[in-house]
């Protein structure tokens, strides 16, 4: 590695102030610190520092996402061939999915990192690692049939309007990856909702086998409310829904990375063990979701309300959202107590929107963005309670 090091040392001066490429200093620094942990030493304060840094933290999240990514690739191929009425091998499925998903990932990273590098240079900052995670999250929460230019546009919107205008990673109010999805959702609704977009090639509509529906469990479940539910029982609704095992393992249509709850649990285990993701938020979300599901069971107004509460954990993007999106440390609540409230409210609202808002079969994305908005308010009251405890102490001690 000495060769590489001396090469970097040789070209470094031309990137520094008054060098030929000084306008690319942030970019150079990003690549240099990617290759080598810088030799910077502490100057003030503690003489030693923990070996953790943001690069490691973010790469732990990326590692935690790999099971979802790999399964998502396989599942893309599986559903594609199934929609054509063909049976296919494991590797055929995977390879097909790989070829469909990889371009989305590439577009997301190229656009997002491009903007990140440019804005870091404009501010004279080091490039922040936050987009390493957003860049992989964006493809995983998109339907596989989404046009690439839409991914590019959505990513640009999320990074510029969602993050950089606020000052970059750490300053943003909303989760950037979800903003990208919300952008597509509101700008091009037909490309991210309905029954066709979740299956690769189905929008184009060629050779789809008769009677095949690409409907997600959520849109099936939504049939359990309103007029369509008139003569339906919860048993018949459950028969229409995929098998519980299939929903847990992920053999269902949906956004690329959200379908396999098993893969998500693997990711959650990594996040919780390393301490990178907040177990409080994950647990509180699940409890909020189950609690609200149970309450709906008690009220039992229609078949959807009667569905066993755990169905809500298995359908749609709830599990993925609770593990990977709601736990984003920047946009979630930051106090311990706040995390419980934030998570629980997220779980409760998701079930509410799913069941009582027929316009949106899924509520996860909007609920997380809404909770992001309220997170500072929740924290405000938690911190306020701390202040009041301190003031109370004065009164009791006098």
């Amino acid at each position: 590695m000495k060769f590489l090091r001396s090469f970097l040392d040789k070209i470094k001066p031309s990137f520094e102030k008054e060098g030929k490429y000084s306008k690319l200093y942030s970019t150079f620094e990003a690549f240099e610190s990617f290759l080598f942990v810088p030799k910077t030493v502490t100057t003030r304060g503690t003489h030693i520092r923990d070996s953790i840094d943001l690069k490691r933290t973010m790469s732990v999240v990326v590692v935690a996402l790999i099971p979802c990514l790999l399964f998502g690739m396989w599942n893309t191929g599986y559903w594609h061939y199934r929609s054509l009425g063909e049976t296919s091998e494991f590797w055929t499925n995977f390879l097909f999915g790989f070829c469909r998903v990889l371009p989305i990932i590439a577009v997301s990273y190229i656009v997002g990192l491009g903007i990140e590098f440019a804005s870091a240079q404009m501010r004279g900052h080091e490039v922040n690692e936050g987009f390493l995670v957003s860049g992989i999250l964006i493809p995983l929460i998109m339907p596989v049939d989404v046009p690439l230019w839409m991914v590019a546009l959505a990513t640009a919107f999320a990074v510029i309007i969602g993050k950089e205008v606020f000052g970059g990673t750490g300053m943003n109010i909303w989760n950037p990856a979800l903003l990208a999805r919300a952008f597509v959702f509101f700008a091009y609704p037909s490309h991210i909702s309905g029954d066709k977009v979740w299956i690769a090639g189905m929008t184009a509509g060629q050779n789809i086998t008769d009677g095949f529906s690409g409907a997600t469990p959520l849109s099936v479940a939504a049939g359990g409310t309103g007029e369509t539910a008139a003569n339906m029982t919860v048993e018949s609704l459950r028969q229409q829904l995929p098998d519980v095992n299939d929903m847990f393992l992920g053999f269902i249509p949906g956004s690329i990375g959200e379908t396999s709850k098993l893969a998500i649990l693997l990711g959650a285990a990594v996040l919780i063990f390393t301490g990178v993701g907040s177990w409080r938020i994950m647990l509180a979300s699940a409890l909020g979701c189950l609690g609200m599901g149970w309450l709906c069971n008690m009220l039992a107004g229609n078949p959807y309300m009667e569905l066993p509460p755990y169905y809500h954990l298995l359908m749609g993007g709830f599990a993925f959202g609770a593990v990977f999106m709601a736990t984003d440390p920047v946009t979630a609540s930051q106090t311990g107590t706040g995390k419980w409230i934030y998570g629980a409210l997220f779980g409760i609202l998701v079930v509410l929107i799913r069941i009582f808002n027929p316009a949106y079969p899924e509520g996860v994305m909007l609920v997380i963005l809404l909770m992001n908005t309220f997170a500072p308010l929740i924290d405000h009251y938690v911190v306020d309670a701390n202040i009041r405890r301190r003031l109370k102490r004065v009164k009791t001690s006098v």
Partner: protein
Amino acid sequence: MSKVVKLKKGLSIRMEGAAEKVLAKAPASENYAVKPSDYKGLVPRLCVRQGDAVKAGTPVFVDKNRPEIRFVSPVSGTVTAINRGERRKLLEVQIKADTEQISEKYEITESTLKSRDLIVETMLNAGLWPMVIQRPYGIIANPADKPKAIFVSGFDTAPPLLDIDFMISGQEEHFKKGINVLAKLTDGKVHLGLSADDYASKLNKIKNVEVNIFSGKHPAGNVGVQIHHIDPINKGDTVWTLDAQHVVTLGRFFSTGVYGGGRVIAICGSKVKRPQYLHAIEGVSISAFADMIDHTGNVRYISGNILTGESIGRDGYLGYYANRLTVIPEGDNCEFLGWAMPRLKKFSASKSYFSWLMPGREYALDTNLNGGERAFVVSGQYEKVLPMDIYPVYLLKAILAENIDRMEQLGIYELIEEDLALCEFVCTSKIEVQSILRRGIELMIKEMN
């Protein structure tokens, strides 16, 4: 038996080079210095000139704003140099020690020990006052104040570990005397914090003192954490704190009437050949210990512990409050793809490196920053290592916004740098927590006067 305060939060940094329980005599040294930088917020006014002869206990400079507070020479000898830095800021007064040591002498009578005013006056005159630290702010106490309590921590949990019991063994009588003197200074209690691990410690058998037992990792031994759990500082309160070894110095002075006597320090860290305890005098030039240190490679010499100490260089001088001389390697080398490696040999409080596989390992920690400075990203990290009911990130943000009211509400009176040092250590974003906090404290001092 006192109640045990169990602290669950905190962190033990397992580092190589903790001192072995052996007390050696320090190699003789003739170079000493008194440094204003040892004292937070001090503006000094010099009392000596180059070439002046001084005794141990002769004032070298005084506090410009409170001239009754004197800073004295630790040894008798000659002032050899007065070093100034930028804008003529006084850096250090160097003193060359005589072979025969003479100390300033004070007459201590029974009546001195009975009167609070006389005790304070004697301490001021003898140059013992700087050992009394005031909370809030962590500055030298105001002699005119009457604190609501005085706190002494009888154990030290900062890395590398230190055994205060061992350091003051043989000096118990002086320690008791010191506590008795302190008891006169407050109408409240004198609190002594002891570790639940060596609860049977000899310090426990002292009268005139309220013993509090703490269990937990660092920062359980920090006096600030102990105050928070026993008798927290509210707005308008003043509490005084002293280092355990300074209590010994105080007791010795009031027994003998003579300034000085030095203290026990630990010479420790992975670059020390044989980490052990030494008897040394504050302000001594560490060049005297050169033989005990492995100087190969770039090395950092720290007066104090690795979290809060001061980097003093190879020929620097030991600080007034230092209990340790810590020597560790500098980490000024590039590590190829370090952030992506398993890093079995790197310590981390998180489990994102695989060093969690070796729970008992001790690490040769270096001074590499291990990353670049970022905005606050990760949440809940500081809270895990701060056993106090305080939200540190919110406090730091209030300081950055220079919002005095908010700083007060969020508990700035209860903290000094050492209490947040672990937050700085674990910080993923490499934020300089201690210097931000000091900036806030300085703002508070300015605002309150």
